[in-house]
Amino acid sequence: MSTPQVPFVRRALGRPRITVPAVILVLELIASFGASWLAPYPPQQADFTAALSGPSAKHLLGTDRLGRDVLSRLMYGGADTFREIAIAVLITLVIAVPLGLVAGLRRGRIDAVLMRMADVVMSIPGIILLLIVLALFSQSMTAAMVVIGLLSVPGMMRVVRSASLTVGRETYVAAARVSGLGTWRVARRHVLPRITGLILVNAALACANTLLIAAGINAIGLGVKPPAPSWGGMMADAAQTLNQSLWLAIPTGGLVAVTAAALIVLGDGLRDTLAERWSGTSHATTTRRRTAVATTAAAAAAPQSDDAWLLAEPHPVVRLTKVTVTAETEHGEVELISDVSLAVGQGRTVGLVGESGCGKSMTGLALLGLLPNGARVSSGTVEIDGVDVGPYGPAQWRELRGGTIAFISQEPMVGLDPLFTIGQLLREAVRTHEKLSRKEATLRARELLEQVQLPDPDRVLKLRPSQISGGMAQRVSIAVALAGRPRILVADEPTTALDVTVQREIVQLLRTIQRDTGMALLMISHDWDVIAEACDTALVMYAGQVVEAGPTERVMTAPLHPYTRKLLAANPRLATVGEPIPTIPGTVPPPGQWPVGCHFADRCPDRVARCTEAPIALTQPDDQGVARCVLVGDELGEELLEVSS
């Protein structure tokens, strides 16, 4: 592979979980295979005067009952042990991995035949077979290891098969087949690298297992014939003399235990390090760079923003005042959303609009107390029904969520447990909020389904999530959200995954429910049609900041901020056919790479020198909203605000 391997090795070396077991195993290997040069005594040399002595300068690990040096015998016995492990595990891997890959990727008849064969092998009583083979092949450990290797094939094959089945369903495997790759190439390039970690862990377990079985065979005297040294044989000796010397059991049994543990820990460590290369979850880099980078945006003095308009909602159910959310990343503490203020009044709908990566969802999660691990509200306040929820613990949040605040997401199916019927799911939701009998809960569930306008609610109650369409699933998840009679609903892209014909129905449904219940709604969407149809107020977010807000109609017909204008225009539905669709060149800068001045400056057609000098504050040109742009005054032709504070 042409993948850069150096970083992998360097990462692996910086990690005690890998280096400690690796060093142990390497030392054992050197000592075992170099025993004839390194061992202090020959394995058979007996010193009857010093039988069963403890550790001493002469015998570092003591002696056995014939006065033979334990350290030397362990070293001489090691080579056989490692050879035995290698034979068994290599046989398992060489057979099981290709067969598992073929079974998982080709499926159909080949899969069925291979799996039945695996079943047959698994039904063979292993110990009996092992004893027979040892008897037939005059206690040949090699023959025994071949048998162990073969008997382990079905288990490993099943692991590889089920992992390949999963990876084989990925779209990129379909894409590779379309590129003309046959099964073997797909397996080698796309499936094997993804499941290498899993195979490593299982191979490490198999090594440890084989070590113990081999030691066991030798301990009962069916393998290596004494006086030849073997780890298992020495353990048996130690057991026999246990009443005379406790010490002997410690180096012999301890070595086997340490070796088995080292193998397992090494397998785990390698798997984690392998996956990090592409999954981007490096722990080492986090600690190394934690102090290096300061938060760029926070470092510059934030100007006084005019948030009054944003917070001036009648009867606010929720209110965010200058909320900043930060997260620990490999680049240090980074802002995810910056200085966001918003309020949603009873019965009102506020829309959050902007491109992916602008912080819309993060704002919603801050409001729900569901920030991802490592992220926290670092400044500002979140108020729900007038109460600052900043100091709330998990229990208080649980009480709020589903009760006062509820949430629906883009993927309705994800929230619906496939094992339960819609009726069971709804009853459970209802009963967490109200003490109702089973019968009352069913009635309430039915009522909720009627509220989300599902036809034939009695039938729907009996269906499972897999039996309903995406549109129905979104209605059901709305019903679940309504179970606690929420005062505010956060809807994160509730229509994005749905067919266009269903999208509008869902928006209308939310409007109807709102009119009937007076619930407040925070609608997160990148789709202006949804915002236009649902929202009283629209907040435009860009790279973690609110850049414009105002009554939806005003924002959409007379946008103030250049980003809003560009975003409105970059809509395939509005563009003229036959001409290029207007676009915003470039991409949203990710958190941690925001410029000091206007976050949109790099992509803005109207940029001037002032835009990049200092943080830009929100300004309020009139009672129709706010914008975060130095040009807002100029554009209105009123030569207004000197923006920086």
Binding site: T3, E170, T171, Y172, A174, A175, A176, R177, V178, S179, G180, L181, G182, R185, R189, H190, P193, R194, R277, W278, S279, G280, E355, S356, G357, S469, G470, D499, V500, T501, V502, Q503, R504, H526, D527, W528, D529, A532, M556, T557, P559, R565, K566, L567, L568, A569, A570, N571, P572, R573, L574, A575, V577, G578, P580, I581, P582, T583, I584, T587
Partner: protein, 270 residues
């Protein structure tokens, strides 16, 4: 002739006749599409529109050989490829490529972008490493990404950029037809606009044909010369884009048009 200025000539590149595909579940065959016929000429875009479950993706997968055909024929360049498999299918993959919906799932996270893009080249030719790398740089440039992108992993790109990479992979072998299965529906509207423009530009530059599968009529009208509407496995409407927009015959098409909301939204002039 279409408004996008693409020259559409000659015999059909793809000719699908009376195609049916059934999925078998517990012995019962459930038809996903029934007797679907459509053709695409060189340099043309035909949109296949319908809601989820209409069978539109099934048709795309049948053309790509990812789903077995129950009945009917698929002709590509005059040749029957209905049941092409093995070496023939691999040969075909030089000419027929695909772009899928999910920009996260369609790229192997463990391979660099360069490795993914080089893959079709490694299968089909024994070119020098430098030749392969040159072609990788060319297609990256074609989709508007810097050459350095080849050394990075998919997770380091945004959704829109990943879709560009997926399009670059489809272009590596300079195919005649690309099956695009909902290639923009997982993207933000503003990013959809960028990617749709890219599809238009690429067709103009390379003369590639698209079978463009989507649930959104508003999106396909920018690309397609002709539109085929599928409803529960049947073709219910078939005509030029202008015809379908001006005078939709089937009620389902009218519902789709209404949902697309092309006329309703107020234009915002910058």
């Amino acid at each position: 002739m279409s408004t996008s200025g693409v020259t559409v000539t000659g015999l059909p590149l793809l000719d699908i006749r009376d195609l049916s595909v059934s999925y078998h579940r517990r012995g019962k065959g459930t038809p996903a599409i029934r007797d679907v016929s459509l053709d695409i000429r060189p340099g043309e875009t035909v949109a296949l529109v319908g809601e989820s479950g209409s069978g539109k993706s099934t048709l795309g997968r049948a053309v790509l050989g990812l789903t077995a055909v129950t009945q009917g024929t698929i002709l590509f360049d005059g040749e029957d490829i209905t049941h092409a498999a093995g070496a023939r299918r691999r040969e075909l993959s030089k000419s027929v490529q695909a772009v899928f919906q999910d920009p996260n799932g369609s790229l192997n996270p463990a391979l660099t972008v360069g490795q993914t893009l080089a893959e079709p080249l490694l299968v089909h030719s024994r070119d020098e490493r430098s030749v392969v790398q040159q072609r990788v740089r060319e297609v990256l440039e074609l989709v508007g990404l810097p050459a350095e992108a080849a050394d990075r992993y998919p997770r380091q790109f945004s959704g829109g950029q990943r879709q560009r990479i997926a399009i670059a992979r489809a272009l590596v072998m300079a195919p005649k037809l690309i099956v695009c299965d909902e290639p923009v529906s997982a993207l933000d509207l503003s990013v959809q606009a960028q990617v749709l423009n890219l599809f238009t530009d690429l067709q103009r530059e390379t003369g590639v044909s698209y079978l463009f599968i989507s649930h959104d009529l508003a999106v396909v009208r920018h690309l397609a010369q002709r539109i085929v509407v599928l409803y529960r496995g049947d073709v219910v409407e078939h005509g030029t884009t202008e015809e379908v927009y001006a005078d939709a015959q089937h009620p389902y098409t009218r519902k789709l048009l209404a949902a697309a909301g092309v006329q309703s939204a107020a234009p915002a002039t910058p």
